[in-house]
């Protein structure tokens, strides 16, 4: 190339004004790019997120047709949009059937497993005071061993009706949810571990216990506030 390097010859320090001007131009161009990308994709991204979330929640609460997101804290239960920043707030999802009746509650639980956090979404039925199903949100457990928490039918039956009743003064669970050795489940609040995947099974139990201990006492006095689905979701067939 015959052309010289573009940078200005040495010795000629660029004036501050030129630098500021250039940076200003760059910042403007970049700002426009970012904001337009953000605005352009916002709708799709939000829709994608909502669909993914709904799919996950509807899978653990069969028969649900719509859902709303809430935050429970000491101050009570409020829709997520209003209470996002509440101190110690626990996020959960209320699912409704086609007639608008509360079908169940879904919330996320997480605990350290074998390789990383195991995150599950569990369904809670307030009428039966029991957990009625789980779905795995994410995990990095060993394929073939730890991922049995998704595939092992026997393990999943633990969550057909896992007892999470509250104690008399509604301050905590009446019985700690606990993972026990494979084949020794005696109580409805125990989880029968998968043989050979004890660490992961225990993580699921611990995560659910931690989450339920925090969420359910906050939720119990406020169940009536969950009411009916917001109007928008009625559209879904």
């Amino acid at each position: 190339m015959s052309q010289h390097p573009v940078s200005p010859p040495a010795g000629h320090a660029t004036s501050s004004a030129a630098m500021v001007r250039t940076l200003g131009v760059v910042a403007t161009v970049c700002g426009i790019l970012i904001v337009s990308a953000y605005q352009g994709t916002l709708e799709r991204v939000t829709a994608n997120k909502r669909i993914a979330l709904e799919r996950a929640v509807f899978r653990v609460i069969p028969g649900a047709a719509s859902m709303r997101e809430f935050v429970a804290s000491r101050a009570g239960v409020v829709p997520a949009a209003e209470g996002a920043g509440a101190e110690g707030g626990v996020r959960f999802y209320a699912a409704y059937d086609a007639a608008g009746q509360l079908k169940g509650i879904a919330a996320e639980a997480a605990a350290m497993g074998y390789a990383d956090l195991v995150r599950v979404l569990y369904a809670y039925d307030p009428r039966r005071q029991a957990i009625t199903g789980i779905g795995v949100v994410s995990h990095r457990e060993t394929p073939g061993i730890g991922d049995k928490i998704i595939t092992d039918a026997a393990f999943l039956t633990n969550f057909a009706a896992l007892d999470v009743r509250l104690n008399a003064d509604l301050s905590a669970l009446a019985n700690t949810v606990k993972t026990v050795k494979h084949g020794t489940r005696r109580h409805p609040w125990e989880i029968d571990a998968i043989s050979g995947a004890t660490v992961t099974s225990k993580a699921v139990g611990r995560g659910i216990n931690d989450s339920a201990q925090r969420l359910l006492p906050l939720l119990a006095p406020n169940l009536d506030k969950l009411g009916r689905p917001a109007g928008r979701q009625e559209a879904s067939p």
């Binding site: 061993i145 050795k181 043989s195 660490v199």
Partner: protein, 346 residues
């Protein structure tokens, strides 16, 4: 006490005769353990030992040919790797996976670095760690020792087609021996808080890898090598001593939760690892103080992984981590003065 120090001090052993002699004796010390493993587990164990060793030899041959070096099969080192590796595998391990382990052991553990004496990790353990990560289900599938039909039939998983998943044999294993639980003593302790009595380890009835239940034979083999000055006695002593000490301290702290040191020493692969793998000359420290540090580290890390990790057994990883630390240990411990005589403390 001249021979061991001379030989240990240099990884680049030029005197092929000495290397060959040591290696041959190590194989000799391993053979009774192999024979006992075959007696315990029958045809499948024999097939596994033969396959893994043959793969190691073939891989060694192949890489020598690639590098245009003369064959080094005659130094027995690849055979040792093969035998040791086979002894650390569960007897029901499919043969094709055993072959993968053998290949990984030599290729990743040895050939990569230029062959004998140049490797930085114990090759047998590299192979074991590779298949542990690759086939986590198969490597924790156990079968009972002394099953009545062990010399009449192979374990159903042995002849799994290459690349294919082995069949589930838990029902078969229960049928092969009454009351078989399919869990190793370490898993029983960790997840069910049951301590296996020591006599199960001495008789070989404990559920384990092919060569891990024979504490007596391992000790005898080790003693033989020490007596003939082919092995640095300090390493196994440091490994076992520190593991026992750590176990003892934990037991003092909470006797209900932690088992006694005897259980820690006898269970799993600690004996085999301490005697035959941690002592690998190329991958252990050169300085006398370094040797003690290295051994103690392996013992303590093993106990830590067993007690607090997700895995039931930690010897393999402890030794590999020890291997990784060897250059640092050598760097920061005072080197042996040339011509130093054994017994003078550094």
């Amino acid at each position: 006490m001249k021979a061991p120090i001379e030989l240990r001090s240099s990884p680049h052993v030029k005197r092929g005769v000495s290397v060959e002699r040591i290696m041959r004796n190590v194989v000799l010390a391993l053979l009774p353990i192999c024979a006992f493993a075959v007696w315990q587990y029958g045809l499948s164990a024999l097939a596994l030992i033969v396959t893994v060793t043959a793969t190691c030899l073939a891989t060694e041959r192949f890489f020598n040919w690639m590098a245009g070096r003369p064959g080094t099969l005659s130094d027995w080192s690849a055979a040792i790797t093969g035998l040791l590796l086979a002894l650390t595998l569960p007897p029901a391990f499919p043969l094709w996976m055993g072959a993968v382990a053998g290949f990984a052991a030599i290729a990743l553990g040895k050939a990569l670095f230029g062959g004998l004496g140049q490797n930085v990790f114990n090759p047998a353990l590299v192979g074991r760690a590779f298949v542990q990560a690759a086939f986590p289900v198969s490597i924790s599938t156990w079968v009972p020792a002394f099953a009545p039909g062990r010399f009449a039939e192979f374990i159903p998983t042995t002849f799994t087609l290459p690349l294919m998943a082995p069949p589930d044999i838990s029902a078969w294993a229960k049928g092969a021996l009454d009351g078989f639980t399919g869990a190793t003593p370490l898993a029983l302790w960790k997840f069910e808080n049951q301590v296996t009595p020591p006599d199960a380890f001495l008789s070989g009835a404990a559920t384990a890898s092919a060569g891990e239940t024979t504490a007596v034979l391992i000790l005898l083999g080790g003693l033989y090598l020490v007596a003939r000055r082919f092995m640095d006695w300090r390493i196994p002593v440091a490994v076992l001593g520190s593991a026992a000490l750590a176990a003892w301290a934990f037991q003092l702290w909470d006797p209900a939760r932690y088992p006694d040191p005897g259980f820690v020493l006898l269970s799993g692969g600690l004996m085999l690892g301490a005697a035959f793998m941690a002592t690998d000359m190329a991958t252990s420290p050169v300085t006398p103080l370094g040797v003690w540090i290295y051994g103690a580290l392996i013992g303590v890390v093993t106990v830590m992984i067993r007690y607090f990790g997700g895995l039931t057994e930690g010897v393999m990883y402890a030794i590999l981590l020890g291997n990784a630390l060897v250059p640092l240990i050598d760097q920061y411990t005072p080197p042996r003065v040339f011509g130093d005589v054994k017994g003078t403390k550094p």
